[in-house]
């Protein structure tokens, strides 16, 4: 069995589509390479681990079944994220949003008593206070480590606009968190 782990994305896709012998192995390598990013994206958008696991599986099933018909070249992670994004949008459309924080703002339970962990929880929770568009852009940039070119391709923006909006999302997040972090980091 050939070692496909060092293949470029384009070679993996070609092998997956065309090779009966190594196709499944190519899929396994793609899964190994991008499963964490896809799952992180879905989990942060949905905020529900159980549902995120289901959508995550569905994403790769659709990829497996449809890639030979729908993939037109371009970024592989972008293609996967697009599938996941559509599934998430459908899910959010069909389900009422769940408010992650209580009325007092950052009053949710804190898992660890450690002060540092407490502030980290505040930071990750604050992500949900951003507009959906800004939140998604930040997730794509920071959680998935995507290039602005790929973000632009997925969201249909220009590269410059994607970059600007990611910066705006960061600034918004900082402005939300500054009152809380000022005591901690002055």
């Amino acid at each position: 069995m050939a070692d496909l782990s060092k293949y470029e994305d384009s070679d993996l896709i070609t092998t997956f589509i065309n090779s009966k012998k190594d196709g499944n192995q190519a899929f396994a390598v793609i899964y190994d390479r991008y499963s964490k990013s896809i799952f992180a994206y879905i989990l942060k958008i949905i905020n529900n681990r159980e549902q995120a696991e289901d959508l995550f599986q569905e994403t790769f099933i659709r990829f497996y079944q449809n890639v030979k018909f729908n993939y037109k070249g371009g970024s592989l992670i972008g293609f996967l994220i697009t599938i996941a994004r559509n599934l998430c949008l459908n899910y959010k459309r069909d389900n009422k949003p769940v408010l992650p924080l209580d009325e007092t703002g950052f009053g949710g339970p804190v898992a660890e008593s450690d002060e540092n962990s407490e502030y980290k929880d505040i930071v990750t929770a604050a992500l949900d206070l951003l507009d959906m568009e800004l939140k998604e852009l930040l997730i794509l940039r920071i959680y998935d480590g995507m290039r602005y070119e790929d973000i632009a391709e997925i969201t249909g923006m220009t590269v410059g606009n994607a970059r600007l909006k990611v910066f705006r999302a960061k600034e918004k997040l900082r402005s939300i968190l500054t009152p809380y972090l000022k005591e901690y980091i002055s």
Binding site: S5, N24, Q25, F27, A28, V29, Y31, D32, S35, K36, F39, A40, L43, K44, E53, F56, Q57, F60, I61, Y64, E115, N116, Y119, K120, V123, T124, L127, L138, I142, Y143, D144, G145, F167, K170, E171, L173, R174, L177, T178, L181, K182, Y184, I185, S186
Partner: protein, 405 residues
């Protein structure tokens, strides 16, 4: 460009080198900008840390591959589990190359000196009637081979002179390994006396001649008890003599571990011997040893304190430290031949603070001169950050090659 824009660009890697220098100079001069930058960095790092910690469950992965009809034993486990385990082992192996090389060189040199050179020794054996002293009947440095001495016969009231000539004691196996031309080997009684058969050692057949049956039986009993008394010792000269017992063992050790507190932060670079150590133990008795433990090792540290400008700051570091300590080793039980289950506890001190550790593992004695240890070790570093006490635990493998002196 506003402060926030410059911070964004800097964290995003979008500043030109010249602009980066300007930004760093501004950062050094402007406390407000510095605070804002620290908060931005904290947010960025927190999100990245969370991103790194998110992964789909194994169950989810298995269900997916099952739904797609892909044999997961070939791909999921092969790629994700075994693949990563192999990758991890290769990574650790690469890291431990310096200690392995050190251990191999030292053990090879000592093996050559203590074992090979002595294996060439011809057995000293002379006709007993020319002597009025204990006769060395056989000696062996073969691992696990029972050692013996003619002194046993002296203690059993069987002296060389009473035997009318010489002590015709030999072992078949020894004869094959060592030349002993000046001993006449006969066995008129056709009596074989097996000894050590119940000691997990190789059976050795002793043949006697010119010896009465009573004396022979007595001698064989003495041989058994002699061997039990002198198990592991060298240069035996008497039944109750402990001379030659190994009192010290020196071990060249290594450790491979992971911090239990934070596995994401990069270790400081250290060129050589970053995970090596030296352990010198004194044998209080067969079961208990005490000694010193010197080693280089990593401990992750995170703590908060005021920086040089009086700003309350969070610190992360994964330094390489030299720790000196005391260690006690106890034999828990014998697992099988030459291999003991052991436990170790230790306390030490390094530049950061106190270290407390415990280890459970095996102690394999390849020969009486050297052996190996391998175990799972937990270490805890206690240290101060500002006025607060912190502790950071780690767990991993501890291994070593030891030499008994």
């Amino acid at each position: 460009m506003q402060n926030s824009e410059m911070i964004n660009e800097f964290l995003d890697g979008g500043l030109l080198p010249a602009d980066e220098d300007n930004f760093l100079m501004m950062l050094a001069a402007n406390d407000e900008l510095k605070s804002e930058f620290k908060r931005a960095l904290f947010i960025d790092n927190t999100l990245k840390e969370e991103a790194a910690s998110i992964a789909p469950s194994t169950k989810s992965t298995m269900q997916l591959f099952s739904a797609l009809g892909i044999n997961n034993s070939n791909f999921i486990q092969g790629k994700s589990f075994y693949g990563k385990t192999t990758e991890l082992m290769v990574k650790y192996f690469k890291k431990s190359i310096p200690s392995i090389i050190t251990a191999l060189i030292v053990s090879a040199a000592v093996s050559w000196y203590f074992i090979e050179s002595k294996n060439n020794t011809t057995i000293t054996s002379k006709p007993a009637n020319e002597l009025n002293e204990p006769l060395l009947a056989a000696n062996s440095y073969e691992p696990g081979f029972p050692l013996m001495s003619s002194y046993q016969f002296d203690n059993s009231a069987y002296s060389p002179r009473q035997a009318n000539g010489y002590i015709p004691v030999k072992t078949n196996k020894i004869q094959k390994r060592y030349k002993s031309d000046d001993v006449t080997l006969t066995n008129p009684l056709e009596m074989n006396v097996p000894v050590a058969a119940d000691l997990n050692e190789k059976d050795v057949i002793f043949e006697y001649s010119n010896v009465s049956k009573d004396v022979l039986n007595s001698a064989s009993e003495q041989l058994k008890s002699a061997y039990l008394d002198f198990n592991g010792s060298e240069n035996l000269t008497g039944l109750k003599n402990n001379e030659g017992k190994k009192r010290f063992s020196v071990a060249f050790t290594g450790n491979e571990d992971k911090s239990l507190k934070n596995v994401l932060y990069k270790e400081s670079s250290h060129p050589l011997l970053a995970r090596n150590g030296l352990e010198i133990l004194y044998n209080l008795n067969e079961d208990v040893k005490i000694g010193i433990d010197l080693r280089q090792e990593y401990f992750f540290q995170d703590f908060k304190k005021y920086d040089e400008k009086g700003i309350w700051s969070q610190y992360y570091q994964h330094p390489n430290l030299f720790t000196a300590g005391l260690v006690a080793q106890i034999k828990i039980t014998r697992l099988f031949n030459k291999t003991d289950l052991i436990g170790k506890v230790g306390m030490g001190y390094n530049k950061a603070g106190a270290v407390v550790r415990g280890m459970i593992g095996i102690d394999y004695n390849a020969t009486k001169d050297f052996g190996f240890t391998l175990g799972i070790e937990n270490s805890n570093q206690f240290y101060m950050g500002g006025s607060a006490l912190y502790v950071t635990p780690k767990i991993g493998l501890s291994y070593g090659v030891k030499f008994n002196l």
